[in-house]
Symmetry: C2
Subunit: 326 residues, 2 copies
């Protein structure tokens, strides 16, 4: 079933059928009705492949996440997909596997679909990747970060500032013997770096213990990381975890060992995931609103599509959610 079949059934030219479906306001209402009827009769479903080729608008948005299995970006992807869907856009999924090597190849396979925009979690790191994106002339939105040299549009917040805020908070609460458990991924590393910087600046002689765990992080890694920290000469008085999932593991291990949180050990997470208010004790964490990032990214895509480009950088900020664990 093609548009030609619909047009035939409605007794109009196929171009009129196309208009009746895509811009009904430009067509005689009576014709529109006839075409709509013909669509129902024939069971016609438009071929967006053909439409995209002819119009050079695919209504497709490529979204690249580090790992589908990492829960941090779920609400972001959900909000992004949902908002885009409200205007007929669909999402095609890419996965960078936390590897910059693959970036150019991955980008090429996505560019081959001619998406109307590419949304990346994080910044585009590889020079080759930047080059290809620029050459493709496809709008790009980097998210969840605030690099100084964005490729195009940007929705996020400073990851190092998150780490700094965490350090400031824990130090401000009078915590000493700080430790950090960081996943081995770009943005977690930036949070960890910000944390270390802030400590060094305010307390130059203070040492911070640290444990690096694989990404994406899990509860189990958090447990083992705390066990590791506790086995060292000076046990920590506060731990900043670069994800709530890890923090949950730390809480679990602490409880299993009878360590009182927050009295003996302060635990701070990042993400404010949906379980954070319900851990025991409730988790103090840093909230980054993935839903907002997703919606803002979609908004930028809509704006760019209608050529009314306003701001290209949106800093959504973050906030410390003070609960009990720290």
């Amino acid at each position: 079933m093609t548009l030609a079949d619909v047009a035939r059934a409605a007794g109009v030219a196929h171009m009129t059928a196309s208009r009746a479906l895509n811009s009904p306001e430009t067509v005689n209402p009576e014709m529109v009705e006839r075409v709509r009827q013909a669509v129902i009769e024939t069971g016609y479903v438009p071929n967006l492949l053909a439409g995209a080729l002819a119009s050079a608008r695919s209504l497709l948005v490529a979204v690249i996440v580090p790992s589908i299995a990492s829960t941090i970006y779920l609400e972001f992807v959900q909000a992004l997909r949902g908002t885009l869907a409200s205007k007929g856009y669909q999402v095609i999924l890419g996965e960078s596997d936390y590897e910059h090597q693959l970036e150019p190849a991955l980008l090429d396979t996505l560019i081959a679909r001619r998406p109307d925009a590419i949304v990346m979690v994080g910044a585009v790191r590889s020079a080759e990747g930047r080059k290809r994106l620029l050459a493709s002339a496809i709008p790009v939105i980097e998210t969840w970060d605030m690099p100084a040299d964005p490729l195009d549009m940007l929705v996020g917040f400073s990851q190092t500032a998150v780490g700094r805020a965490a350090a400031g908070y824990l130090l401000g609460e009078g915590r000493r013997r700080l430790a950090i458990i960081s996943a081995n991924d770009d943005r977690a590393a930036m949070r960890a770096q910000g944390f270390l910087e802030a400590v060094k600046e305010s307390h130059p002689s203070m040492r911070v213990q640290s444990v690096l765990i694989p990404a994406p992080s899990t509860l189990g890694e958090g447990r083992r990381a705390l066990a590791d920290l506790l086995s060292r000469a000076t046990p920590p008085g506060a731990v900043f975890c670069t994800s709530d999932t890890v923090a949950l593991g730390v809480l679990t291990e602490a409880k299993a060992r009878g360590i009182e949180v927050p009295k003996q050990l302060a635990v701070m997470g990042y993400g404010d995931m949906n379980f954070a208010p319900d851990t025991d004790p409730p988790l103090t964490t840093i909230r980054a609103d993935g839903k907002v990032i997703g919606r803002e990214a979609a908004r930028l895509i809509f704006e760019r599509a209608s050529a009314t480009v306003k701001e290209r950088v949106v800093d959504v900020g973050f906030s410390i959610v003070r609960r009990v664990s720290a």
Copy 2:
């Protein structure tokens, strides 16, 4: 940059350039080399929109999950996407929001992309949805379930059998005063139903307490559900949770109240999510291997594409993972 530009740069017909890229074995190696060189020089990236239209193969697979935010299907989607990517397929994401009403509309927007296959979590429920899928002639794979009347291909296991197995296990361990905490979604409801059936068959007079929580389920809902159960006349001796996330909440609440697991209360989950071995105590659960379902679904798509259709129904089964909590 189009294939014509590449062909011109290489000094060949555009069809030769196409062949050199897509089936190099049919082209003189020397020509292939010239074309490859031209691709690099020109920075050509193929237009899959055009390729798909011309060849009637989109290399696109639509995947419909109930909710992007539900963690249970992450490994499934990841394995599916990864396996498909190995053969050049890309994944386009749909979300059913646990609502059958929207199904036909959602399907139409996806069918409009002319995917080479549609993979659904769960069975296609709406008659209208089934009709449209059939009319589209697109291969369909229903997953995570084992309906008696599959639409086309099927990779999953019986959800009611999961519930039955859970009941059998808990009863076999001598547990009485059984309770069930079920999320309000199709498959969770089937697990709950299987559980209740099995109890009724072996212990006709036994009553099972139950709590229904919204989908997708969270740790917090699990905590509150246990609190609810404990407030009733007869506190439970064992709880079957229709997801590990809920079970984690139950463990959390039990620990907070000083209830000993598994001594006073047995807790059983479903999913064997990555945190299950590391909860305190380690979670006894039912393992359904999303990775395997994802890979098998991809395999069926590959097979269907090469027309060597073998089995259309794959029962991947499930297993009880006995740890400590039950």
